[in-house]
């Protein structure tokens, strides 16, 4: 793995503010830092909890492939990805993605790319408990369309 890419799959809560501060501290001279935080949506109180399952070892390797694709497309100085697994409550952070680059275009676009790929190319499986019933979640068609936009744009 490229030393400037950090991937963490954590079964314990993490603090995205801390993750961002730490990332900025590691990339002081960069110039452009962009970050994204994804939280569990509560949907007006209907969602009681979200549980994410993964394939230990394999999931991290597949995320590294996604990160490598981003590094090949954009001149990045660093990438940080933190992804939760296990049970989470509404409002808890699920995912944190940050990129450092000399200029903002690479930082913005690579974070959007990483998120679009994490939604459908990273081996995670979501189970939602809503009104006492638990159900596995299928990806949305929008997630596939989001990923496809990077194919059309090309580079």
């Amino acid at each position: 793995m490229n030393p400037a890419t950090e991937i963490l799959v954590s079964d314990a809560p993490f603090d995205p503010d801390e993750a961002l501060s730490a990332f900025r501290a590691r990339h002081k001279g960069a110039g452009a830092i962009v970050s994204f935080i994804g939280d569990v949506r509560g949907e007006g109180g209907d969602v009681e909890s979200l549980t994410l399952d993964h394939y230990p070892g394999f999931t991290e390797v597949e995320i590294e492939k996604i990160a490598r694709a981003a590094r090949q497309r954009w001149p990045l100085l660093g990438i940080s990805i933190v992804h939760r697994v296990g049970e989470m409550a509404p409002g808890e952070p699920i995912v944190f993605v940050a990129a450092a680059a000399a200029h903002r275009r690479a930082a913005f676009d690579s974070v959007a790319f990483l998120m679009d790929y994490l939604k459908s190319q990273a081996p995670f499986w979501k189970k939602e408990t809503r009104n006492g019933a638990t159900k596995w979640i299928e990806p949305r068609t929008e997630d596939f369309a989001d990923k496809a936009r990077w194919d059309r744009d090309g580079e």
Partner: protein, 84 residues
């Protein structure tokens, strides 16, 4: 030789467990054959695993359904991913 089968997401329910240890019969030499063989004793499971959207990993590498599995230690059956 024992092979570990892993079932993720909704496939856990279809398989009745997250994992299973099996001895691969000699005639079961690729993923397709494995799915057919599992389906012989459990038709709903065979159907679930045959869905085109299911992805397979053999020893933690993505595999096609015609991929040979002789000597594989671990075969994972994965429904569409939902991350983020």
């Amino acid at each position: 030789m024992t092979t570990r089968l892993l079932f993720f997401g909704a496939l856990k329910e279809a398989a009745g467990a997250n994992q299973r240890l099996i001895a691969l019969p000699r005639h079961v030499d690729n993923v397709e054959a494995l799915i057919a063989w599992l389906g012989e004793s459990d038709e709903p499971l065979g159907q679930a695993l045959s869905a085109p959207a299911i992805r397979i990993a053999v020893d933690q590498r993505m595999a096609a359904r015609d991929e040979k599995i002789g000597g594989a230690r671990e075969i994972a059956f994965m429904p569409p991913f939902s991350g983020g």
